[in-house]
């Protein structure tokens, strides 16, 4: 597959390297001459110096036949405009933009970018998982449905330990679909399932009722 990567920073460089290893045809467009030279030395002549938002540069690298266009510079506005130029001028079927400011995720979708990846959010979530006291971990976003799959752990001192699921005031948008007890095998929860200390719960919810779900399950 012919893939164009805009931005030869750390993300762009490692992305290009991975995609090359997978056997794809790659071109990286980078503004900085020293960085361009570095990438060419490391990966072979796959890096072109230029502005990835400029029609002339994109024509030169053959954007018209690209199947995928990925913009991963450090500036959200540059990633947005590069993807829009690729999409509307060159009809690239799939555009992916990196977002640094998580607030821009919705805006990018609204403005027609196929996939918006928020690097800040991904780092935040990975760190959250490592914080032992953090009670809710995001496992997966189902973006087009506005839902997310989360994991919660019931602390030993939670008020809900020993209660049946039917007694909990779960928000209507949330569903529990798996309980992983500390010792036993995972099981599907029913209304009469009793919560135990250290249970891990996998649930589906909307981002808005996440907090309500956390409170319902942990009792605080």
């Amino acid at each position: 597959m012919y893939i164009i990567v805009i931005g030869g920073g750390k993300v762009g460089y490692y992305l290009a390297r991975t995609l090359l290893d997978e056997g794809h045809e790659i071109v990286v467009v980078e503004k900085d001459p020293a960085r361009t030279e570095f990438i060419c030395n490391e990966l072979g002549s796959v890096c072109v110096r230029g502005d990835g938002c400029e029609v002339a540069t994109l024509t030169e690298v053959g954007t018209g036949r690209a199947e995928m266009f990925i913009a991963v510079t450090g500036d959200d506005e540059d990633n947005l405009i590069a993807c829009q130029v690729a999409k509307h001028k060159f009809n690239v079927p799939r555009t992916v933009a990196r977002i640094n400011n998580p607030k821009n995720e919705v805006i990018f979708k609204e403005l027609g970018i196929d996939v918006a990846v928020s690097s800040t959010n991904i780092i935040l979530e990975s760190i959250q998982e490592e914080v032992p006291t953090h009670s809710l971990t995001h496992l997966l976003d189902i973006r087009d449905k506005g839902l997310e799959i989360v994991e919660l752990k019931i602390p030993a001192d939670a008020k809900t330990v020993g209660k049946e699921i039917r007694e909990l005031k779960l928000p209507p948008e949330s569903r529990l679909f798996l309980i992983i007890p500390k010792q036993e095998k995972p099981r599907l929860p029913t209304a009469s399932t009793v919560l135990q200390a250290e249970d891990q719960i996998i649930a589906i919810t909307t981002p808005e009722s996440e907090e309500a779900l956390r409170i319902a399950l942990r009792g605080s």
Binding site: E77, N101, K103
Partner: protein, 138 residues
């Protein structure tokens, strides 16, 4: 009319002054407070420190009731992105934007952004100026 301007450079500051004198309710946004020195001393509108590509800054600037939005920063991409936010997310009726690169202006004009390229306009003007004065000299 409520008007929001992003970018308090020479053009932004001057435009803000002109619209303010006409009696419009003008808010000008810039990321650098120092740029507000360019506003005329009798500017009666609001100068706000903030990023014109950020939804919450735009809300603070009153974009929800604005009837017109101008993006006039130094960055073409910033201007186009802010213009699209104003137009598509906040549904501002009139959105005007500066894009130096003539090719980019053309493309985004076709996507519904009302963009102007000072490069094209000024070059054309200079050429016409030269031609008329040459004729006068004859």
């Amino acid at each position: 009319m409520k008007i929001v301007i992003m970018g308090c450079g020479r053009v932004g500051a001057r435009l803000a002054g002109l619209l303010d004198i006409e009696g419009h309710d003008v808010t000008i946004v810039d990321t650098d407070a120092y740029s507000f020195r360019r506003l005329s001393p009798d500017f009666g509108g609001t100068a706000l420190v903030g990023d014109g590509m950020d939804e919450s800054s735009l809300r603070k600037a009153g974009i929800e009731d604005a009837e017109a939005f101008f993006s006039l920063t130094q960055g073409d991409n910033r201007n186009i992105m802010a213009a699209q936010i104003a137009k598509n997310i906040f549904k501002v009726p009139r959105v005007l934007c500066r894009v130096y690169d003539p090719l980019r202006r053309e493309l985004f004009n076709s996507l519904g952004v009302e963009a102007f390229s000072p490069t094209t306009i000024f070059a054309q003007m200079l050429k016409e100026k030269l031609e008329t004065e040459t004729e006068e000299a004859k």
